[in-house]
Homo-oligomer: 156 residues x 2
């Protein structure tokens, strides 16, 4: 990936840090989601939060508070996707898998799996809406991304 | 951002979910970081974790355990960047800012600010290396991205 000490990529000169569109995207770490291309974003347009599943966690709250209070974002877009590693799994199955691979106990970890994509998106949209410490009047929407057809379908 | 019920983006047909390069990138939510272009990644190459600062948190652990045990990734690349909103801030200043904006107490939140970029990257690289529940023999590297020159400089 990175054999030398320094590599050059794309110069980005004098763009301010605050997202131009006032937008925060919350989505999954999945390798098939190129958020810039998916949403036709330019460099400088949006904050992007990604974790396993695109779930709204304590760390998402930390990031949203910073995004909204330091960088004045006001819209959140939650996107989960088809063929997600967390879809239709259970914590029990995941704990067994980790124990089999490492011999270690992971039962203290909630991996946040889900059974239904539209419901998981709606739950996370509601979670953002009910978070403390965010500004009033923010807009929160949610969608499911189909990784096979490349279609985003709004569900919340 | 998303006015209708459905929008089409880029079709992705029959790519498997496991990242082709076995790589997980951990980086900041910053609007100026297009990770695919920065690292010359294709769709399907890598898992991407993003939060405020690109810090390694409990949620990063949850995601890394899933990535490595379900999708067989074995390399982690931690990237922080110049001109980051968390650079040279303090929790005290951030707590005051939230209180001034919302009237609410945020002192229970650690925003994970940092004073020195090379040190914050090295700390987070060490944090990944010392995480429980990950497979043995994983590779963890770290770099600082200069958002003005587009240069990645390896620091760990």
């Amino acid at each position: 990936m990175f054999d030398g000490e320094e590599i050059s990529t794309i110069p980005v000169v004098d763009l301010p840090p605050a997202p131009r569109k006032g937008l925060v995207v919350v989505t999954c770490m999945d390798s098939r989601l190129d958020v810039f291309r998916m949403l036709d974003l330019e460099i400088g347009d949006a904050h992007i939060l990604r974790n396993a599943g695109g779930r709204v966690t304590e760390d998402t709250l930390r990031s949203l508070v910073l995004s909204m209070h330091l960088m004045h974002t006001r819209s959140v877009f939650v996107i989960h996707h088809t063929s997600c590693g967390l879809h239709r799994l259970t914590n029990e199955a995941l704990h067994s898998r980790v124990r089999a691979a490492t011999g270690q106990d992971a039962t203290h970890l909630d991996f946040l799996p889900f059974d239904d994509l539209a419901i998981s998106v709606s739950e996370d949209v509601e979670r953002v809406r009910s978070l403390p410490l965010l500004p009033e009047g923010i807009s929160v929407t949610g969608a499911v991304y189909d990784v096979h057809t490349g279609t985003l379908h709004r569900v919340a």
